[in-house]
Symmetry: C2
């Protein structure tokens, strides 16, 4: 087991990473009151809920099982968490535990941020994506019918348990989606880690515990370093959105769930790399390496055939990252070095968008 | 006009207090983006909305008018604010302006806390209660069917405009309700201010601008001092709840709206004083002065005749201030000096509750 300490002053917390950390009796030491509410979903709860409950016999433990899916990440289902907390009379020393992927984590974290104006919560992410993405940064929230992640709060967990063994029950496609975010950290921040990923992608896809533990540790560490420099997302933190503006457009166009978030980000990162090359930053060889690693991770590299330049532009312009109508993108100067910019030739973006469906031929 | 600076480091903000500060062109200097959303209600908007709009012609100004009443302070109506923001494509540099009483302020502030994980908001409180209570402390939120103010966030405004002239359109009963909170600040923190209130209560009820400006300034200043010492409400800030645990029980028992919050707090403060006297802290003479000032403010001093000790106890035990099942109360050692304690004889509390309906005879 590795322990990564996310240093945030009086909100500093540990991320425990490794095989079977779920069974290491780590939860109880982080619960400061007498009450615990475990929030999970229909898919994950039957697999792991009882293992958490077994460690918490000294507490009042209540559970709430939500339906599984991004489409339930809304205010109505958030309210079910408040209902459960109030029904069971949880007070402000309660601890919420999120057992599940990003949806459960985002909703439970947001519920913890808002319940009685803020209570403790612990993340137990059960997908690779949520282990590397939601474990650090404190972003919580729900979707709105008119926009994804439009309602939320920054609220830090008091501990995170990232168990690599639970990934065994994860569909391959979701493992690949998580690897997209792992690749992202190499691309924006750490060329050596990118090299390591090229060498170890097969092990990661075969769920080698040691390789997964290292990848999760380094991904969370990079995210923590970036976030520590910029907790409220005004500057460098925006680099974490590499591939996301393209990716959100793909997700929205295709309907959430048809493309997984990580799949859309994978293709989106390649589109960002394509535009970076057109801007004269990345070499063709670097774009090829990026493309090869994304393919090796089992991710799509071709945008949906039915998406036009106009549709991409329209969907990209509603993204949160748009300031005053100009599209800002994360682009890549070289592997391991990214920048946020709105100073690119709009015609080059059109070329990338037009090439979107043919990127495989770049 | 007086300006009180609430010192919160990088979230420091001014409260402008005085007659007709609404017309002082103070708003525009605090709007950092190009978009403004004014949230108000059906009662207040016809009176003052156009005066705000007139100052903001340089911005994209959208408005949302909510129904008037505490019963609309819920997640559904909060969502109307998100709808409006997304419909009008407000980005994260938008500024929300809350024009109204506590309900509008709490909801707009909470919407600002959550929209895109946090945007700016300006308070323009139009009741005395919201001028002295919501202007400082950063508490925002909505009610839940199962509990008042159970869902919310701490989110500081970037400026507050407390215009004493708008109180002219406020019903007398609501002015009195606001005075309950003003008295509270004297009772918990400042015996001299309590003396001043005894001398000036008639002027305040007659809406003398100078007296109101002083009272609002001093009340906000005391609250700011208390909150600055304890932003997250773990210690001294709890003193601000004087009268509130009794008061919430009265409000819940009688149905929200039948007793105004400030009215319930007024009677609740006298019940707290009664218990403080039974505990041997307050003298009978001090209780008499407190009772006289509450009466002078036009507030009720007799709890509802139909409330039993059992009902009081049951309703008080669901209050947020309850830790581990024990009722904690704010009691008064002497005028200007309060304490939070759960170390009182439970039988004395019963006596106070039993006397509740007869306090007029104390």
């Amino acid at each position: 087991m590795l322990t990564l300490t996310v240093d945030l002053g009086d909100r500093t917390y540990p991320i425990y990473i490794g095989g079977n950390v779920l069974d290491e009796a780590l939860l109880a030491q982080h619960v400061r009151g007498r009450q615990v509410m475990i929030v999970s979903n229909e898919t994950v709860a039957p697999l792991y809920l009882s293992r958490l409950q077994a460690q918490l016999s000294a507490f009042q433990v209540d559970t709430l099982i939500l339906p599984d899916g991004e489409c339930y990440k809304d205010l109505d289902h958030l309210n079910l968490i408040f209902d459960a907390l109030l029904d069971k009379r949880h007070n402000r020393t309660t601890t919420l535990i999120a057992l599940g992927g990003g949806v459960v984590g985002d909703m439970t974290g947001f519920a913890a941020a808002c319940y009685q104006r803020g209570v403790d919560f612990i993340q137990v992410p059960t997908t690779l994506l949520s282990q590397v993405d939601s474990s650090v940064g404190g972003k919580t929230g729900v979707n709105h019918a008119k926009g994804k992640n439009m309602i939320g709060a920054f609220h830090q967990p008091i501990a995170v348990l990232a168990d690599t063994a639970v990934l065994a029950t994860l569909p391959d496609r979701e493992l690949s989606a998580g690897l997209a975010e792992v690749i992202k950290y190499g691309l924006i921040y750490d060329a050596e880690f990118f090299d390591w990923l090229e060498l170890n992608m097969d092990k990661l896809r075969a769920q080698d515990a040691e390789a997964l533990t290292h990848a999760i540790f380094r991904a969370c560490q990079i995210k923590a370093e970036v976030v520590a420099q910029d907790e409220r997302e005004s500057g460098i933190r925006a680099l974490l959105n590499l591939g996301h503006t393209f990716g959100h457009a793909i997700e929205t166009s295709q309907g959430y769930g048809n493309w997984l978030h990580g799949e859309a980000v994978g293709t989106g990162m390649l589109m960002a790399a394509d535009l970076s090359a057109r801007c004269g930053w990345l070499s063709a060889e670097e774009v090829s390496r990026i493309r090869a690693l994304i393919i090796a991770a089992g991710l799509p590299v071709v945008a949906p055939q039915d998406m036009t330049v106009e549709e991409f532009r329209q969907l990209m312009s509603v993204d949160k990252k748009v300031l005053d109508g100009r599209i800002r993108l994360v682009l890549v100067r070289s592997i391991g070095d990214a920048l946020v910019t709105q100073d690119f030739d709009s015609a080059l973006l059109d070329e990338t968008l037009r090439a979107g469906a043919q990127l495989a031929q770049f």
